[in-house]
């Protein structure tokens, strides 16, 4: 029994220590955004890696999510004779909840794992040390542009996801199942309020920062060669997904 308590205590202490260390890592990374030299090119490179290269997967995921919502929503609403509310149901589901969460999970799987692998390999091949010895701060050169790119790219990807999802719902609901185009869009217009959109944006900002923070942190402190990189990449995907869902609950409870 004592051994179990000791084990739990050690686990909690390690967890708290890691959370604190991650928070300091984040603060240091963000603070360096205001310290010269400024490297806009590095930011654009990371926007390309995290944002542009994730666009296709976000469009595909958004389209199919919207189509499924259109299909499920139509048959559910038809039972109550409310097919006209399909547009509102699809838009609210996407903007408030599914857009930010699914975008974050897709970005975590695609770009988060890539960030961890890239930074982890830089660590084990001494590229981060090489930067340090050249008096170039590796946090500023490698990590900070990724954090900023995560902060900017994920909300933009979420917006793309939402728009494509709404069009996917339109394709199924209006084009295939015969809901009126006017009621699809007017229902949406009447139901979606600025608070819904703001909530979605805030969520995607928090998710974007969380994903890239976890990915960069796990890569930056990678140890034990290729096996360590593999483990860090795995931890990034799992931890990011769990944190995104946990944050989602916390933020939703604020916006409801």
């Amino acid at each position: 029994m004592i051994a179990l308590i000791r084990y739990l205590g050690r686990w909690v202490l390690n967890w708290v220590q890691e959370a604190g260390s991650m928070m300091l890592f984040l603060l240091q990374g963000l603070a360096l955004a205001f310290v010269p030299p400024f490297r806009p090119r590095r930011f654009l490179q990371e926007m390309n890696l995290i944002g542009v290269k994730s666009t296709l997967i976000i469009i595909l995921t958004g389209a199919f999510t919207g189509m499924v919502l259109g299909l499920q929503g139509y048959y559910t609403l038809r039972k109550y004779g409310s097919e006209g509310a399909l547009g509102a149901a699809v838009a609210l589901s996407l903007i408030r909840e599914m857009g930010p969460v699914l975008t974050a999970i897709m970005v975590s799987a695609r770009a988060g794992s890539a960030v961890t692998a890239e930074v982890g390999i830089m660590r084990i091949t001494e590229q981060l040390d090489a930067l340090d010895t050249m008096a170039v701060n590796p946090m500023q050169y490698v990590v900070m542009p990724k954090l900023l790119a995560g902060l900017v790219a994920v909300p933009l990807l979420t917006a793309i996801f939402d728009v494509v999802g709404i069009l996917g719902g339109y394709l199924v609901g209006v084009v295939l199942l015969g809901v009126s185009s006017g009621s699809y869009f007017s229902g949406m217009e009447q139901s979606v309020v600025p608070l819904d959109i703001n909530g979605g944006i805030v969520k995607s900002l928090v998710f974007g920062l969380t994903i890239i923070l976890v990915a960069s942190y796990k890569g930056y402190y990678t140890e034990h060669g290729a096996e360590g990189v593999s483990r860090a990449t795995n931890q990034t995907v799992v931890l990011s997904a769990v944190l995104v869902l946990a944050w989602d609950y916390i933020l939703t409870s604020f916006f409801m």
Partner: protein, 247 residues
């Protein structure tokens, strides 16, 4: 001059450096030898502040690098260059961009001057201009070392640290890299610390040799003095006797 004074370092309770005392003379090549895993690279990383000691000092012209922070540490690091064991070339940059990197980051030289200096270094390392367009994963081990050496030399630093510069290379390439170190040293007269265990090749470039064993420097002198050293550990290592390697 770099002075290492009573340097101690342990990782997870395992003592790696146990009171190192060493002087690295200005403008000379000092080679640290010792068997694999004895802590040579750890010692080298202390010299540039990549690892903090548990105890002891590393004085660079009187400044203790272990106590420096921020701008002062950055300024001191600018006097150094490091050639890492695996080269530590940036995967995402071409050979040309790798060599130009320190100039782009730390100087305001015009592009024409950067191009000229990089081409000069490529030529010095017997690398073609065409090689400048390649990426690190397209290079052989020997080419990587030469590119890393070119990058280390590009800012003409006062001090260069070489971490096992010929590990994994075949004998001709080993001699080529040592020849290049000797040649560039002759041209620039930098202070060098070379960590290596390639006997007897390292004696050809060394002005001084120090042997690290069980966390301490057990022998120090010119190559001739080390080869005549009476310590059985030193003799055993120089001769590559298997019983020593297993000890």
């Amino acid at each position: 001059m770099i002075q290492v004074i009573d340097l101690h370092k342990a990782f997870n309770g395992q003592v790696v450096l146990d009171g190192i005392n060493l002087e690295i003379a200005t403008g000379k090549i000092t080679v640290v030898i010792g068997k694999s895993g004895v802590g040579k690279s750890v010692l080298l990383k202390h010299l540039i502040g990549l690892v903090k000691p548990d105890k002891g000092q590393v004085l660079v012209d009187g400044q203790d690098i272990t106590q420096l922070k921020g701008r002062k540490l950055q300024d001191l690091k600018r006097r150094f260059s490091v050639l890492f064991q695996g080269g530590a070339l940036f995967d995402s940059l071409s050979v040309f961009e790798n060599i130009a990197f320190p100039l782009r980051e730390k100087t305001r030289l015009p592009e024409t001057e950067i191009v000229s200096r990089v081409h000069e270094r490529l030529e010095q390392m017997n690398l073609s201009l065409e090689a400048g367009k390649k990426f690190p994963d397209e290079l052989s081990g020997g080419m990587k070392k030469r590119v890393a050496l070119a990058r280390a030399m590009i800012q003409e630093p006062e001090i260069i640290l070489f971490d096992e510069p010929v590990t994994g290379l075949d004998p001709p390439m080993t001699n080529t890299v040592f020849h290049l170190i000797r040649k560039t040293h002759g041209a620039s007269n930098y202070t060098a610390l070379v960590v290596a265990h390639d006997i007897p090749e390292v004696f050809s470039i060394a002005d001084y040799v120090a042997m690290l064993h069980q966390g301490r420097i057990i022998a120090f002198g010119t190559p001739a003095e080390i080869q005549q050293h009476t310590d059985p550990m030193v003799q055993s290592f120089i001769r590559g006797e298997p019983d020593f390697l297993e000890a």
